[in-house]
């Protein structure tokens, strides 16, 4: 009783080194494997170019070689052009930023792991040097070792081995002249040999050995604490142990938990500091109707952001604001005026604006404020392109072109006075372009513009319609979504071509039945899937923005001058084929321009040859509607504001009309369908045709709408949350 209740301490360090070794190895081995893996995989992303391609979502595994090459070519070209125009300090800082974020510095971790391995080696060494451990092992009863046989030895071998040994150690046959002690040793060995032999041959003894590890049956089991006594017993070391214990559980763990909690409660779900979010919400809440809302107001709010106060405590709100103004005015006075504002500070302050403006936009749209939403979008454009619309009104759009620093003063009677936007600009010949922008080095500029045209896509909406999933008409109160058919062309394509393109694509679809691709179960269940399957757009061309900015298009659903839901962002559309299209370069722009003028004169539609779209692809943009279709039959419409989050000249309002059918009309429609189906017994192709967009009716949008609608009563206002998917 008494002996079993007292514990033995691990005085000889027989057990606890093994614990330490196990604990050490369970940390060190996985860590080393992770490090080695990182080291190997990191090699792939060593060059800036590789990192950038990875960030631009050029995925080597998923796509076929041809598209990959096209994308790579365009994106590399874009970076080349952008880098040639970027400020050197910003370029350097961006490289550093990219490297730091994408190729982790593993020297620190490497050092820690090396130290751990050294500790492991030391513990291992101390175990192998500890004679006590080997003694304990040696004192264990092993019949095979005692008899000098192996596990696989036969009974015969065992017997002969036993005979030999028993002859040697038998008490009667001991060599003469031994001391008593030696005699005793010999006797002990003889007994052990006997036991070992029995353990391998005698049934009962063998069972005992197998069960308890000893031929005599169960042995005394000793329990102990795997720590040396001095650690646990009263005394100096035990106090240290208690202190260490307290330190871990009362200081270290609470410290890290509270730090984690503080950090997480400091930032809201959009990654914005809580103080900043409160400030912006309060500002929007108190915004008076009729006050001037433009990018200057947003910049003023942004300069109060708490993020900047934390990151740059030495800068005042005015300093931050002057950085913004300096940036959008394309000036560089500040760094010489204020020693606190370095290029590094500018780099950080301006890169941070993106998330802040995005948040302002979200708040503005939650408050249904359209003008504020648009002002925030414009503010983002100003910062991305470093343009102050107030200064160069109304020609500021042209400042986005590569290599254009400032716009020249044009004479009052100049014929280029009317060139205000990019579309008009691209109608001009190369010489005229240089005249408009006051550029002297024409060849170089032509090269830049050529690159620009092949890398910057322009979104054109071909057609739009209101769709009800899985139902060809719109019934009252149905949950609907809006489907835009868009085409990413080069920036120099004219928007008047839209209708001609639309016609061509529809003809091609009908011939090739491309729509069938989107008739699988997944696409029927989720109307937005086809949008997500498209290519990721290349980054925005913004040589003055410090970091590379991903392209984002914004959709605001508006009604009566109010925003209906939080903005929907999308960045997926097929572009690589269109920008690298063969026919694209062949298209004679001058001839086309004369055609355009003629068609405008005669009020006719523009025609384009079918081979132009040969290797072009259109894309879909689907928008969940915050509201269901109207309850009463009749004609209605949704209004959309579509814009680019970083480039001027893309903003457009789209009205999508739709017609809600009454019950009688639905019945009539279904009857008609039935009749068609009966007919289709002979003409199967006709039946398929009417599934998609049918023949001549597509020309006018109103008629189109009647065709496509449907019914599922799930989410209505909850769509607001689904926006995050698009982001």
């Amino acid at each position: 009783m008494v002996s079993s209740s007292t514990y033995e301490y691990d005085e000889n360090s027989e057990t606890f080194p093994f614990f330490i070794l196990t604990a050490l190895l369970s940390i060190t081995i996985p860590w080393s494997i992770k490090l080695i893996y990182q080291f190997l995989s990191n090699n792939k992303f060593k060059s800036i170019n590789a990192i950038r391609l990875k960030l631009a979502n050029v995925d080597h595994s998923k796509e076929d070689k041809e598209t990959l090459e096209k994308k790579k070519k365009s994106i590399e070209c874009l970076y080349e052009l952008q880098d040639s125009l970027k400020k050197d300090t910003f370029k350097k800082l961006e490289y550093e930023y990219l490297k730091a974020n994408n190729s982790k510095n593993i020297t620190k971790e490497f050092f820690i792991v090396t130290v751990l391995w050294v500790v492991v080696a030391y513990v291992y060494q101390s175990i192998s040097n500890n004679a006590k451990i080997f003694e304990t092992i040696a004192s264990q009863f092993d019949p095979y070792e005692l008899l000098g046989v192996t596990l696989s030895s036969s009974e015969k071998d065992i017997k002969s081995a036993y005979r030999k040994l028993s002859l040697k150690f038998h008490p009667d046959k001991l060599p003469s002249g031994l001391t008593d002690l030696e005699k005793l040793k010999y006797e002990e060995s003889f007994i052990l040999i006997n036991k070992a032999y029995q353990a391998l041959t005698d049934e009962i003894v063998k069972e005992n050995y197998l069960k308890y590890g000893h031929p005599d049956g169960p042995q005394q089991v000793s329990q102990g604490i795997a720590l040396p006594k001095f650690v646990v017993d009263n005394g100096f070391y035990s106090i240290i142990m208690v202190l260490a214990y307290c330190l871990v559980f009362m200081v270290v763990i609470p410290y890290f938990v509270s730090k984690w909690w503080n950090n997480s409660s400091q930032v809201n779900n959009q990654g914005i500091n809580i103080e900043t979010s409160s400030y912006i919400i309060e500002k929007v809440f108190n915004l008076k109707k009729g006050s001037v809302i433009d990018h200057n107001l947003i910049l003023e709010w942004l300069s109060n952001a708490h993020e900047y106060k934390v990151q740059f405590p030495e800068l005042t709100t005015e300093d931050i604001h002057s950085i913004f103004i300096d940036h959008i005015n394309r000036e560089n006075k500040l760094t010489s005026q204020n020693s606190k504002i370095t290029d590094d500070v500018k780099f950080k302050v301006i890169s941070k604006t993106h998330s802040l403006i995005k948040f302002t936009l979200t708040v503005a749209s939650c408050f249904n404020n359209l003008s504020l939403s648009i002002a925030s979008i414009n503010c983002m454009k100003c910062i991305t392109q470093a343009i102050n619309p107030d200064l160069d009104d109304p020609r500021y759009e042209l400042l986005q072109l590569p290599g254009v620093e400032i716009l020249p003063e044009l004479k009052e009677d100049s014929k280029f006075k009317g060139i205000k936007n990019l579309e008009q600009f691209f109608m001009l010949s190369n010489g005229e372009k240089c005249q408009v922008l006051g550029i002297e080095n024409k060849d170089e500029f032509a090269k830049k513009i050529d690159k620009y045209q092949h890398t910057v896509p322009k979104l054109q909406v071909l057609s739009s319609k209101v769709v009800v999933q899985d139902q060809p008409y719109i019934s009252p109160g149905a949950v609907v979504h809006i489907q835009l058919k868009v085409l990413m062309t080069g920036i120099n394509y004219v928007s008047s071509l839209k209708q001609a393109f639309n016609l061509l694509f529809e003809q091609r679809d009908k011939a090739k039945k491309i729509d069938e691709k989107y008739q699988t179960i997944e696409h029927l269940l989720d109307p937005h899937k086809k949008m997500h399957e498209q290519e990721v757009l290349p980054p925005v061309f913004a040589p003055r923005f410090p970091v590379t900015k991903d392209t984002e298009y914004i959709i605001l659903m508006i009604d009566n001058g109010k925003v209906l839901q939080t903005p929907i962002f999308f960045n997926k559309a097929n572009w690589s084929d269109n920008l690298n299209s063969k026919s694209y370069d062949q298209l004679d722009k001058h001839q086309f321009f004369t055609q355009l003028v003629e068609s405008q004169k005669s009020n006719k539609q523009l025609t384009v040859e079918a081979n132009v779209i040969e290797d072009m692809k259109y894309s879909y943009v689907t928008i969940p509607c915050p509201l269901p279709a109207a309850e009463q039959p009749g004609e209605y419409s949704f209004k959309i504001y579509l814009d680019h989050f970083g480039m001027f000249g893309y903003d457009q309002y789209i009205t999508v009309p739709y017609k809600v059918l009454s019950e009688d009309e639905i019945k009539a429609y279904e009857e008609e369908e039935k009749q068609k189906k009966i007919k289709a017994g002979e003409y199967i192709e006709i039946e398929e045709d009417e599934y998609g967009l049918s023949d001549e009716e597509e020309l006018s949008e109103e008629e189109e709408e009647e065709e496509n609608e449907s019914d599922d009563n799930s989410s209505v206002y909850s769509d607001i949350n689904t926006d995050t998917d698009e982001e």
């Binding site: 409660s265 809201n268 779900n269 959009q270 914005i272 809580i274 103080e275 979010s277 409160s278 919400i281 309060e282 809440f285 108190n286 109707k289 009729g290 948040f359 979200t362 708040v363 939650c366 408050f367 249904n368 939080t566 607001i720 949350n721």
Partner: protein, 204 residues
């Protein structure tokens, strides 16, 4: 006796341990005063009460310090009390409070209360959405919720002041009506001014 002694002697070691154990158990019975648990409970309750009061005063102080989410921070209220407490010197130098001035200040205050109320109710949904999106901090949402209570108290205070001013001759409903009308008229005035300025801008 002898038997006893032999017994004792024979089992000396055993009995001694037994006695020791008995001693140990008897020591555990101690006379504890009835006051002990009472004192314990009182100390516990007192400390809890103190803690509760401390926390609530802290909270109260904090809420007193946090400004209203309205930018003008109930300025019409301040104006009213400033007039009432004669903080402005009157033009003719008399210290008699102009009753009409006080009444119009009160109506202005009441109208602003209605304006705040309408604005709060209008933005309720927006704040809920922003809160659910996780855009807003807990503190700010609490500030917003607090505003509803404040506005009710403000309205009650206005009505009380009105009854005091008119000495109960006019009904509180009438005051509410007046304030509402003033509020709407002001809104219309602002809107007209806004469109006016828009037109002016366009003409320029």
């Amino acid at each position: 006796m002898s038997f006893n002694s032999t017994f004792k002697n024979g089992t000396h070691s055993n009995s001694s341990t037994f006695e020791n154990e008995a001693d140990a158990t008897s020591v555990q019975y101690k006379n504890i005063s009835i006051l002990t648990p009472i004192i314990y409970v009182t100390v516990l309750l007192c400390s809890l009460m103190y803690l509760q009061r401390y926390v609530s005063t802290k909270k109260h102080q904090k809420s007193m310090q946090t400004p209203s989410i309205f930018e003008d921070n109930y300025r019409p209220r301040e104006v009213y009390y400033a007039i009432k407490e004669k903080q402005y010197t009157t033009s003719n130098g008399s210290d008699k409070i102009d009753e009409n001035a006080l009444l119009s200040a009160l109506i202005h205050r009441g109208a602003s209360v209605f304006r705040y109320k309408i604005k709060l109710n209008e933005t309720k949904q927006t704040f809920d959405i922003l809160y659910k999106l996780g855009s807003m901090g807990e503190d700010f949402y609490e500030r917003y919720e607090r505003e509803f209570k404040l506005i009710e108290m403000e309205l009650e205070d206005c009505i009380r002041e009105y009854a005091e001013l008119t000495k109960g001759k006019q009904s509180p409903q009438r005051f509410a009506e007046i304030c509402q009308n003033v509020c709407f008229n002001e809104a219309i005035k602002r809107r007209v001014a806004f469109y006016d300025s828009k037109v002016q801008n366009k003409l320029k």
